[in-house]
């Protein structure tokens, strides 16, 4: 008799149904939603994926210093530049300090970074990462603020020496020209040049309140320092 009534009022409590059915229903709902969204909004999902990276963002204001000074070698003339295998050079990452830049006549002695973002320019001077590092044999474009680390460029004159020290060698350049040009004037530099040349630039004028679209460009040519042997 009780069995009969159990059947009449359903198949008992049947605890399995309270677990299996909701899981089954839930799976149907979620899989259906997933299929619909991945088909209907595929372009939106692809677009959204561009905004995500494979790791969490880092907002640290510290920087990595890979600069280890090397001993000065005797000055050699431009025609006799020594070479070093490019494989022996640790190319700096953007934002890393990898050397120092010194112009004694201008009272400049700054940390040299690769990259010219906020952190490099708040701590020294930085090479624009679309240009090249010393020794590569191309244009080295160095930026710095006129009120801080490149304030001394106001004393720049032709013939003064610029020293750049890195972990893979020490370089000397000689200032050949100083020009004030508009920041948008692309004739001020040639990033495609096939010869080594150093261009340092900063905002102009110096020591005045306000901002202008002008920049002071200081040009220098190599005197000594190891060139990269790109075939090694």
């Amino acid at each position: 008799m009780p069995k009969h009534h159990h059947r009449r009022h359903g198949s008992g409590i049947d605890g399995k149904n309270f677990i299996i059915l909701p899981i089954l229903f839930s799976a149907i709902i979620l899989i259906s939603c997933y299929i619909y969204i991945s088909v209907a909004a595929s372009s939106l999902i692809s677009l959204a994926s561009l905004f995500f990276s494979d790791r969490e963002s880092d907002f640290s204001e510290s920087y990595t210093n890979i600069y280890v000074p090397v001993a000065e070698t005797s000055d050699s003339s431009r025609d006799e530049r020594e070479t070093i295998p490019i494989s022996s050079v640790t190319y700096p990452h953007v934002g890393e300090q990898f050397g120092e830049l010194i112009i004694e006549d201008c009272q400049i002695s700054d940390k040299l970074f690769f990259g010219d973002g906020t952190i490099p320019l708040n701590n020294g001077v930085g090479i624009y990462n679309g240009s090249f590092i010393p020794g590569y044999g191309k244009t080295i474009l160095v930026a710095g603020h006129n009120n801080t680390y490149f304030n001394g460029l106001k004393y720049a004159e032709k013939g003064q020496k610029v020293k750049i020290r890195t972990s893979y060698g020490n370089y000397v350049y000689e200032i050949t020209d100083i020009q004030v040009k508009k920041a948008t004037d692309t004739s001020a530099y040639d990033l495609a040049a096939n010869y080594e040349n150093l261009i340092m630039y900063t905002c102009y004028p110096f020591d005045e309140l306000g901002l202008t679209p002008y920049r002071c460009f200081v040009y220098a040519m190599p005197v000594s320092g190891p060139a990269f042997d790109k075939n090694s």
């Binding site: 359903g10 309270f18 709902i29 905004f51 963002s57 005045e208």
Partner: protein, 288 residues
Amino acid sequence: MSNSKSNHSVIKSVLYSVLSFFLAVSLFFLGIACIVKFSLFSQDFMMNAMASQGYSAMIQDELKSDLKNLGHASGLTDEFVDKFVDSLDISGVEYDYVKAFYSGDNTLVDTATFKQQLYAALDQYVIDTGMDPEKVSQENVDYLVEKATSIYVNDVSIPFFSTIANYVYKYDGPLTILIAGLAVFAAIIAFLIIFTNEFVHRRYRYLCYSFTTTALSLAVIPTVVFVSGYITKIGIATRSLYNLFVSYFSSFFMYFYFASAVFAVAAIICFLVFYKRYKRITGHHSHH
């Protein structure tokens, strides 16, 4: 005769299971629609996310950093920048900015007050530093103010917010109608389950299926999102916006857990009532 009764019972059981499935579907979407309404479509939700992260203070720090950078190129000291930015009402500006979005007003950052305050501060700076006002180029100062204003707008603005807020304003009404529609649909199915069932305990059984399904489905979504860690991997360039995004969407997905908990409680209540009723009926028949 007995077989016919049994078949009839199975058909009824399947039918009510299908009804409880559709009730679960409608409750699932109703839950999501309510979550969206009270989170993404709510100005208070955005304000709370901003307040919990100290968003205005972070904007202030970033503005100081960016303006100091500008100052290094234009003759301003770090002390001047600190003092000037501290004098700005960043939280008030942010409040007006967000409020304008949610009310469908102009979404441009107001720069008039900023410019006015900066010009006044620069005039004072010239006096304090003993510069000869005659030698200060007004053109260069104007250019500096323009650049500083552009930095200010960039720091205060929330990227893509204007686009998103436009949709929020546009779809707020339709979302309310959708919520009402889903609620009515769910009520009709619940009505069918409750009032067409011969035995009271069975009503609670099928309602329990629906609530459990809804609770489970709503809990899976945030769990997948949090386990994948996608929220924290958003590529945003500034700390303030990154923190705001993470806080905003973490809270949004936490609402799913809250909704899931509500349905889980409903499911437990239904199960307990079902169990009590079932025991009473089977006990009653056993005594006879």
